[in-house]
Amino acid sequence: MSAQITVLQAYNQALSDAMSDDDQVLVLGEDIADPEEGGVVGLTKGLSTKFGELRVRTTPISEEAIIGAAVGASLVGFRPVAEIMLMNFTTVAMDMIVNHAAKLRYMSGGQTHCPLVIRTMTGAGMSTGGQHSDYYEAWFAHTPGMKVVCPSTTEDAYGLLRSAIDDPDPVMVVENMPIYWTKGPKPEAGHRVPLGKANILSPGTDITIVSYSRTVLEALGALQAISGAGVSAEIIDLRTVQPWDQEAVLASVEKTGRLLIAHEAVVPFGCGAEIAAVVQDQLFGKLKAPVKRLGASFNPVPFSKPLETAHMTDAAKIAAAAIALVKGE
């Protein structure tokens, strides 16, 4: 068995390797330097000791100032990786992200651009309640100029973050907090996962299940129950939601004729809606069943454990929905 590391270590390794490879890579955010223990979950531990506190800079709790500093430095060639501790806190920096980072290339007619990365963690399952757990990837995927990635494994965490840092435009890296401490193969140094490229995790013939972030692990968890019911499911980890891999998804659904999209965010106006719309538009006559979406119910993430569990998209729900779609129940 190859060496194993946690998802959290994979992100740390990606940052460290990127900073070693390119002295224009900067890291900034709240509590991120070593005197502050390398972040609230220790993800950036060791970086400031290795690269100095000018390149790995702890900031005040000022999200707009953080992204503003990243935008300004990126305009003149630096590649800042800004950490917004929790995805809900991006709301405080929305103007800098949406009106500036995403639009400056366009509004300047290509004279400037913002090669910056925003790393942010989120996810339900740890009883963090209504303001620390939300998935807002659809907001940013809906913003021209932005790219959004949602890794689910150690190799994707490393490879997508490295590609995000290489990218000439702003990329939001949505990190799932509950899976930070799950283990997987140690990625090779320099490994890249191209943005916009999905990963087919399990081939199948009856139904395509498209997912991303932690929900991919739930889909894999559903596989046994699905095959037990005599259904062959193809599971696709989208990995990037903007731009998403239409080619891979369309090819798979053309083969299976059925599509289930599962994500952690609330269902209405989520990324699943966009995928469903494109698939029905392109493959209308080839679908054997209506496209189905699974996600959170349309309410804030609840605190109380049973409510939080009910709110989430788990393996059992995915299995039931997939089997029902194929069996026509």
Partner: protein
Amino acid sequence: MSTNTYVPDGPTKLEMFRKMALLKANDERSRKVITTGRLIMPYYSYRGQEAIPAAMGVVLKDTDYLCTIYRGIHDMLAKGLPLKSLWAEIAGRVEGTCKGKGGPMHLTDVEHGVMVTTGIVGASMPIANGLAWASQLRGEDRVAVATFGDAASNIGAFHEALNLASVWKLPTIFVCQNNLWGEHTAYEKSTSAKRIADRAAAYCMPGICVDGNDPVELYGAFCEAVARARAGEGPTLIEAVTFRFQGHVFGDASGYIPKEEMEAAKARDPYPLFRARLIAEAIATEEELSAIEAAHEASLDEAVEFALASPFPAAEEACTDVYGEVA
């Protein structure tokens, strides 16, 4: 805060006049071109505020960075943006600095350090910090200037940016053009501080309040702030008190400004005052100043005609420059 250390010499004063004359002529021409229907654009007149960028422009170098706002064409021209590029841009033509994709509110001209123009109140400041951080990281002596209005000192971005600049000792210069009106609302109705410069104390940085209609006083303030920034001693907040002679946006007749207040402000119009001063101080003659004004008018004639004769971008251009090429 003393600003006597830096006194402009005759040629510098004349250069400031030259810039003020350009800015004033450009504003008047803009309103004329819109009124006659030759151009359609949102326009935020800066008439009355010309002295501030004129002084800034003679102190900054081309390599220094500027982040300005929707009422910012005076800042850009003073920083060196060429008239033809400006006019082609605000006319939405391909020869504009942004190929017509920015317009008057989102103009960028990297060559002259005009890095960002924002339509969002307060947003120039956090971005200027990033440019200043870049300069600090590279050990350069470039400074980053963020200009903004008095009302922007009430938004979160101002406070986040000043605090960060102070903690990080960034070479950022925060230039508040206090024209006493935030859109339609009077200063005292929206702003708790007697002086915006007083707010600098809360962030442990120097705050300088100057007469924003006096280029000589402004020159001193800019020199002091720029010297401090270039020496690595950190940011400065400059408050330049001035007035806006037009409405918030073109077409707004500024009925909310009391007549007497407007008349008193116009009596202190920085342009004729500085013009008379240069003649009184024998720095230039009436004829020389008139020649400068006539030359600006001729350049404007040329720039406007150039812009209006330039082609519009092709429709396909709407979808380019959204993302760059991935290597």
